[in-house]
Amino acid sequence: MADVDRLSSLAEASDRILAGRAADGDVRGFEVLIRRHGALMRAYAARILGSNADVDDVVQDAFITAWDKLPELEDLSAVKSWLMRIVNHKAIDRIRARHDHAPIEDWDDPAPEREQPERQAETHSQQDSLVRALELLPDAQRNCWVMKEVGGFSYDEISAELGVPPSTVRGLLARARRRLMTEMEEWR
C-alpha cells in the first residue's frame, strides 16, 4: 500500500491506535497525531507564553519529548490531554528560562507598557480583548489563569507544575481574574 493511502486511512484512526503505533516507532502514526493536535497545542502554548514568539519551538520540543516518552503512557486513548500537559510543561519551562529560573513569586513584575490606544482600535471581539488583556498580565498570573481556565488544570496540578503552594496559586488566580475582568470591561 502506498504511503499516501496509508496516511489517509490512518487519518481515520483513533488517538489510541495512533498513539500505540507511535509508541512502537511508527512515524506515520505520529505525524497524524501532530496534524490532528498540533494547532490546538500551538494555540495553547501561545496563551501560556503570552505571545506567538517561541510557540513553534516549544510545541516542536513537546512533540519530540512525547515521541520519546510515549511508551510510558499507560492510557493511550488519553494522548491528547497528555500532549497538552507536555506542551504546558515546556511552555512554563520557557518562561522559567526567561526569568533566569528565579522563583515564580518574582515573575510578578508588571508587563511592559504597550501602546494601548492602538491596540484598542484593533480589538474587535470579546476574544480579542481577552487576548490583549492576557498579554498585559504578569507571567505568573497569566500562567495560573491559562492553566486553570483554558487548560482545565486543578489547583493542585498548577501548584505542582509551578512549584508553589496552592495558596499562592489561589492568590495569583484571584488577581488574574480581577484584572482580566477589569481590562475586558475597559475594552468593551
Binding site: 500500500m1 493511502d5 496509508r6 489517509s8 486511512s9 490512518l10 487519518a11 481515520e12 484512526a13 483513533s14 489510541r16 491506535i17 495512533l18 498513539a19 500505540g20 503505533r21 509508541a23 512502537d24 516507532g25 511508527d26 512515524v27 505520529f30 505525524e31 501532530i34 496534524r35 490532528r36 493536535h37 498540533g38 494547532a39 490546538l40 494555540a43 495553547y44 496563551r47 513553534d56 516542536q60 512533540f63 519530540i64 515521541w67 520519546d68 493511550l76 486513548s77 513569586e105 510578578d108 470579546q126 476574544q127 480583548s129 481577552l130 487576548v131 491559562v146 481556565e149 483554558v150 492568590g171 488566580l173 484571584a174 488577581r175 481574574r177 480581577r178 475582568m181 475586558m184 470591561e185
Partner: protein, 196 residues
Amino acid sequence: MNAANDDPADDIVDVLSDYLDRGVEPPRELIEQSPENHLALAALLRVREAARSLIDVDEGGLSTGDEGWIDSILTNLHREVKAGRAIPLTHPSPRANLTLTEGAVRGLVRAAGDSVDGVLVGRCVLDGDVTVAGSPVVVRVEASVFWGEPIPAAAERLRVAIAGALIQHTELAIEAVDVTITDVHLRRTDDEGQQS
C-alpha cells in the same frame, strides 16, 4: 501581595469562581444580594466564555504553511529510542551475534496487520523474555476495524497474518497472538477503492 486579597470585590469573584469551577450555579440570593455581585458574575461569565474560545481551533487546523514545521519535528525524532530489546537469531558460530531489534519485529507486526483489509494495528507488545532464544512469547496487539466489518472475522484474519509474518521472519517461540479490537473507524469517503 495580600493587599489585593483584602478587597471585598476579590472575595466575591473567588466565591463565584469556586461555584463555577465545581459546575454549580451560584445561589440566587448571593447574586441578588447586590448589583456588584450581579455585575461580577456577568463579567466572570464573559471572561470564561472568551477563555473557552481562546484555543478554539479546528482539529487538524494546521495550514499548508506548516508542512516545513511538521517535517522538522519528524526529522528531529530520536529513532533509536524505539529499537527496544535485542532478539537473538541462532547461528552455529560462537563468533556470530545476530539480532532483530524489538522495534523491527513490532514494525513487522504492524505491516502484517495493516495488510489485512479493513484493519489498522495499534500498540504491539511482545510479552516474554525475547532476549533469550526459545523463551515463550505472547504477542498482544490492539487494532481498529472499519465500521461495518464483522469484528471476530477481522480479528481472526489479523491473528493469522501476524502469526504468519512472525514465523516467516523471526525465531520467536510464539505461544499466542492476542488481538484486542479497541476501536472502530470510518472509511473516508474519498478513500473508496484505495484500500489494497
